[in-house]
Amino acid sequence: MSDNDAADRPPRLDRRQLVGALGGAVAAPFLIRRAQAASAVNIGVILPLSGANAQFGVNSRNGIQLVADQINAAGGIKSLGSARVELVVADATSTPTQAATVAQRMITQNRVAAILGAFASSLTLAISEVTERRDIPLLTMSFSDQITERGFKSVFQVVAKASVIGAAQFDGTLAIAKKAGTDLKQVAILFEDTAYGTSQAGGLRKAAAKAGVQVVVDEGYPLGITDVTPLINKLRASGAQAVFPVSYLNDSLQIIRVMRQQGLTFPAIGGAAGYVIPDFKSGLGEYAEGILSISPANWDQDPALTDTFSKRYGYFMVHEALEHAVCLDVLVQAMEKAGKSDPASLREVLHGTRFEGGWTKVMTGGAVQFDAAGLNTLAEPLMVQWRGKEPVTVWPERFAKAPPIWKA
C-alpha cells in the first residue's frame, strides 16, 4: 500500500509542476503588460492576412503602417504627451469566430484604445459584436449595410455602404453609357455568394428596377469558382449590353479573361475589390484596359498624399489601403482633439466632429463626418476606369480626372 503510494508520487508531483508551468504561462502576458511603459497608444489592427482575402489584408496593413510611421515621425500624438502610435496587428484568418477572439484578445491583453479592420464584412460584423459590448471604437472600410444598421454606437464606417455603392455602380454606368450615346436596356449581374457579393448585387438589382433596365442574367456563384465558362455562355445567350461581375480577385480575372477570349467585348463594370488592385492589371494584361469599376475611393483624388504610398511600396495606393489610412488618421485626430484615449471620449469626439486635413483630403468631400449610426455621410462612391497601370476616376464629373470611354 505504502509502496504503491511512493510509486505513485513522482508522476503526481510532475503533474503539479505541469499545472504550475501552465499557470505561469497563462499569467505571463499579464505580468509583462504591467511592466510596459505607458507612453504609447495601442491600436488594434485585425485583417485577413491568410486565406482568400490575404492580398487585401496586406494592402490594408501597408496603408495603416504608412500612416502610423508618418504620425510617429512627426512626433506622435501631441495632446497625449507625444505618445507613439503602437500598432497591434493580428490575422483575422477567414472565420468570424477567430476574428472575434482576436478582438477580445486585443481589448483585454493589449488594452487597445480602438480597433481598425477587418476588410471582409463578415469578419467586421463579428468583431463589432465584441467591440460594441466592450465600448471600444471600431473603424472600418467594410461596405456591408448591416454594419451601421444595427444601432451600434461604437462602430464607424468611413465608406458608403454596399447598397449605395451598388446603386452608384449602376447609375454611373447608365450615365457613362448615355454620354456615349448608348441606351442601356439589358444588363447581366454575376456575384459571388459572400456577404459582400450578395449585398452589392442587391443594390444593383434595386437600381436596375428603378431605372427600368431589365436584368437578363442574375447569377450567384461560389467564391473561388473553378470554371466560369457556363456563366459566360449564359451571358452570351442573354443579349446583355453590359455585365456587372461582383467579385474578389481571382474570380474577376477569370470572368473577364474568358469573356474577352470568347469575343464578348461589351463593357464589364466591376464592384471594387479585385477590380481595382495592381494584380488585376498584371493578371489580365491588355484585357484590363478600359474595364470600369465602382470604387469607394480612389488614389487620384489627392495624388500628393497617395504618392507617399506608391513610393514606399511600389504600387499605386489601392482603395482599401487608402481607406484604412483614413481610418487611422481620423482616429488619431480624434485622440488629439479629446486629449485622451479612453473609449468613451473617443466615441464622443468621433461622433461629433467634422474631420478635415491629413488623409481625409483623399476622400470625396475632402473630409470625414460620422452620423449617429457611425456612417461617414460625406463618402461618395466613384467610377474608375483602367488606363495603363492605374484606375482613373471618370465619374461623377466633379471628381473625374479623365473622361470615360464606353465601347458598346
Binding site: D14, G57, V89, D91, A100, S122, A126, R134, R150, A195
Partner: protein, 321 residues
C-alpha cells in the same frame, strides 16, 4: 481525477480577468471538447468517422437564433428545439449512410455538411445568407443566455462539457455502448451475435447529432454573430471536431478534452505569436505541429504515457484494493 479537474476548472477563473481573453480561449476549449466528445459517441465508440457534424452544429445555431429573433423565445427552448431538429437530421442522414463503412461513410457525411452550408448560403430568408446573422442582444441574464462578459459562458461551456462527457461515459459503460464497440471491432461478428448494427448506429448518431446541435446554440449565444461558413464549414467545424477527438485519442473520455486543449490553444498561440509577421505563417506552423503530433503518436495524446493515462485508472486500482 475527473473531480479534481472539474474543481480546478471551477477555480481557475478567479485568478483571471473575467471578461478576458484567457477566459474566452478556455471557454472555447470547453466548447470544442464537448463537441469532440459528442462526436466521439459515433466516431469513437462505433468508429463511424463523421466529417459532417457541422450540419447538426449549424442546425442548432440557426434554430435557436431564428426562434429568438422571430418569437423572442428563450435560447433554452431554442436549444431544445435545435436538439430535436439536430437529432432528426442525424436520423435522416443516418438511414442511407449507416450501411456505408470507412471512407465511404466519411465522404457521405462530408458531403452532407457541405450541402447544408450551400443551402444556408442560398436560403437568405431563413439564415440571412452569406451576410450572416446577428444574435439580438437581450438584457443580460441566464434566462435569455445573454451576457456582457465571457465568464458565464466559461461556466456554461464547462457544464456542457461535463454533461456530454457524462453521457459519453454512461453510454460506453452501458449495454448499448458495448454493442457499439462490438460494431467497431467487427460489424459482421456483431451481426452474427444478434446486434442490429444499423439500428444502434442510428441511435448513436441521433444522440450525437442532438448534443452537437445543442452546443451550436451555446456557440451562437457566445459569439453573437455567425454566417453559414462559420457554423456549417468543413474546416472550422466538421474536420476540427473530428481532429480534436482523433488527435486527443479516439474513443476515450479524456481524448477530446486533451485534443481540444492542444488544438484550440495551438491555434491561438500560433495566431498570437506569428500572425502579425509574415502573412499565413501562423497557419503553416499550426499545420506542421499537427502533422508532427499525428506522426509521433497516431493513437492520440491519451496514449502518450502514464502521465496522462494513469489519472483515469487510479480509481479502478484503488477500488480493487
Amino acid at each position: 481525477m475527473p473531480v479534481a479537474a472539474i474543481a480546478a476548472a471551477l477555480i481557475v477563473p478567479l485568478g483571471l480577468d473575467g471578461d478576458g481573453y484567457a477566459i474566452r480561449v478556455i471557454a472555447l476549449v470547453f466548447l470544442f471538447a464537448a463537441l469532440g466528445q459528442s462526436w466521439n459517441i459515433v466516431g469513437g465508440l462505433a468508429n463511424q468517422i463523421s466529417l459532417g457534424h457541422a450540419a447538426f452544429f449549424g442546425i442548432g445555431a440557426y434554430t435557436s437564433t431564428r426562434l429568438l429573433i422571430d418569437f423572442g423565445l428563450s435560447p433554452w427552448f431554442g436549444m431544445l428545439a435545435g436538439g430535436v431538429l439536430g437529432g432528426a437530421a442525424a436520423a435522416l442522414i443516418s438511414l442511407p449512410t449507416m450501411r456505408l463503412r470507412g471512407h465511404y461513410f466519411a465522404l457521405a457525411t462530408l458531403a452532407f455538411g457541405e450541402v447544408m452550408r450551400v443551402v444556408a448560403n442560398a436560403w437568405t430568408g431563413l439564415t440571412g445568407g452569406p451576410v450572416g446573422i446577428s444574435v439580438p442582444y437581450s438584457a443580460p441574464g441566464l434566462w435569455m443566455l445573454s451576457f456582457k462578459g465571457t465568464l458565464p459562458f466559461y461556466y456554461l461551456n464547462l457544464t456542457a462539457l461535463v454533461g456530454v462527457t457524462a453521457v459519453f461515459v454512461g453510454i460506453r459503460r452501458s449495454a448499448f455502448g458495448y454493442r457499439l464497440q462490438a460494431v467497431r471491432e467487427d460489424a459482421n461478428a456483431a451481426e452474427v451475435v444478434g446486434v442490429d448494427t444499423a439500428r444502434i448506429k442510428i441511435q448513436a448518431a441521433v444522440i450525437s447529432g442532438a448534443l452537437t446541435a445543442m452546443l451550436g446554440t451555446l456557440y451562437a449565444q457566445m459569439n453573437f454573430f455567425f454566417d453559414p461558413d462559420a457554423v456549417f464549414g468543413a474546416a472550422p467545424i466538421s474536420v476540427r471536431i473530428a481532429l480534436i477527438a482523433i488527435v486527443g485519442g479516439i474513443g476515450t473520455a479524456a481524448g477530446p478534452i486533451l485534443g481540444a486543449i492542444l488544438i484550440v490553444s495551438l491555434e491561438e498561440i500560433a495566431n498570437v505569436l506569428l500572425s502579425g509577421q509574415v502573412a499565413g505563417l501562423s497557419n503553416l506552423v499550426y499545420g506542421l505541429i499537427l502533422i508532427a503530433v499525428i506522426m509521433i503518436q497516431p493513437h492520440g495524446l491519451v496514449a502518450l504515457g502514464p502521465v496522462f493515462r494513469r489519472p483515469w485508472r487510479v480509481p479502478a486500482v484503488d477500488a480493487a484494493k
